[in-house]
Symmetry: C2
Subunit: 231 residues, 2 copies
């Protein structure tokens, strides 16, 4: 099956839904891609014919191994481009996602490899998302959300979801980036904000923001671990 831009976009969205544990249905795909439900129906039929996805009762769709390979290729190009744009071109944190979104479809294998080498084969993009290897297994693990951290604990941020540029700008402003350590304070009741301390400053984060932050509770005394590049 021909890997057009649309096909790549669908596979990528399906991959993300799967790894985020969301239902992979016509409506969730349509919502993510901003297209109508019938468009998704039609495309899914094509993807099934091309043996890139299969129906798996209830939960909805799954990628075949062939489909996953293609999805990972797109995810890899996207995250490599984000890293490249941020580190080499100096594109701000909150802009790299949108730029990579369009460039990812036009990146040749040759240029992909060159950028990968230039960056020293990075393992994570600027938001902390792992960059799949060109071939071989990939572990797309989502760390725990900040909301799961108990009051009084220390929490190290690993990933910051990259979808909302405005939120990203705010988070960057107050110093919330991958690798940063925060102290988890009180949680206001009835869906109220979560108080955290970062860099000695206190902030109240609404659920719209806390949902974007993933990481792990740090057992006391450990020095913050800075993320490093892969070998």
């Amino acid at each position: 099956m021909q890997a057009t831009e649309a096909v790549e976009d669908y596979l990528k969205v399906i991959y993300h839904l799967v790894t985020e544990g969301e239902a992979v249905t016509t409506s969730t795909i349509a919502r993510r891609l901003g297209v109508s439900a019938p468009s998704v129906s039609a495309m899914v039929k094509r993807l099934e014919a091309g043996e890139l996805v299969v129906r798996r009762g209830e939960g909805g769709l799954t990628l075949t191994s062939g489909g996953e390979v293609q999805a990972l290729r797109v995810v890899r190009r996207h995250r490599l481009l984000e890293t490249f744009l941020a580190e080499v071109v100096g594109v701000p944190w909150d802009e790299v996602h949108d730029e990579a979104e369009v460039l990812e479809h036009s990146l040749s294998d040759r240029l992909e490899d060159r950028i990968d080498a230039l960056l020293g084969h990075p393992a994570h993009d600027p938001h902390g998302d792992p960059i799949p290897p060109r071939t071989g297994p990939h572990n797309e693990r989502w760390a725990d959300p900040l909301t799961a951290a108990p009051t009084g604990s220390r929490f190290q941020i690993e990933r910051v979801s990259d979808r909302d540029p405005e939120a990203l700008r705010y988070l960057a402003d107050i110093g919330l980036r991958p690798g940063v350590l925060v102290e988890v304070g009180a949680r206001a009741p009835f869906g109220g904000p979560l108080w955290i301390t970062v860099d000695g400053a206190e902030h109240a984060l609404g659920s719209q923001l806390t949902n974007l932050l993933h990481g792990a509770v740090v057992t006391t005394g450990t020095t913050p671990i800075r993320r490093r590049r892969a070998g």
Copy 2:
């Protein structure tokens, strides 16, 4: 009119044909783009409806001012990308054209400006082709072909056509790049090769190669002028 990739490609080819002094006809466009003549007929009809080209008896088509603006935007992105890929990413001379060819359609204005600034607003791409400004007038002057230089003269190369990667590799190997000075030797008769001396070494160039080289005869005694960036 919607500036799709296809539309951008057609406008770019028409622009190049015009500036190279070639006829802008259905068949020349078809040949350049590698599509059939009826495809060109159909697209030209759409471009006319969108007021991007007009028919101008005999010579064929011309770009309207609106069409030229769009064409120059594509040419600018292409040449900026070539420069960026060569200087920043380290892509070899003969590969930048093909890579830029696909990326040029996905480069946002924002990223274009950022790359332009990062490069210091370059005036020429690695092949010596002038980079159009984002707005305002642009002079796409083609210097004289090497074939026009008289035997015994010294010729400074300004532009090397970028279309043939194999030829580019060979030319780079023997040191023929923009800015380089060559001595024009004897011309073998009946379409035979042209002898030139560059870096003290003599080479016989067939017409396939001499057609790619453009520049100017240098009046004696002048030191070679290195191309520099614009202000």
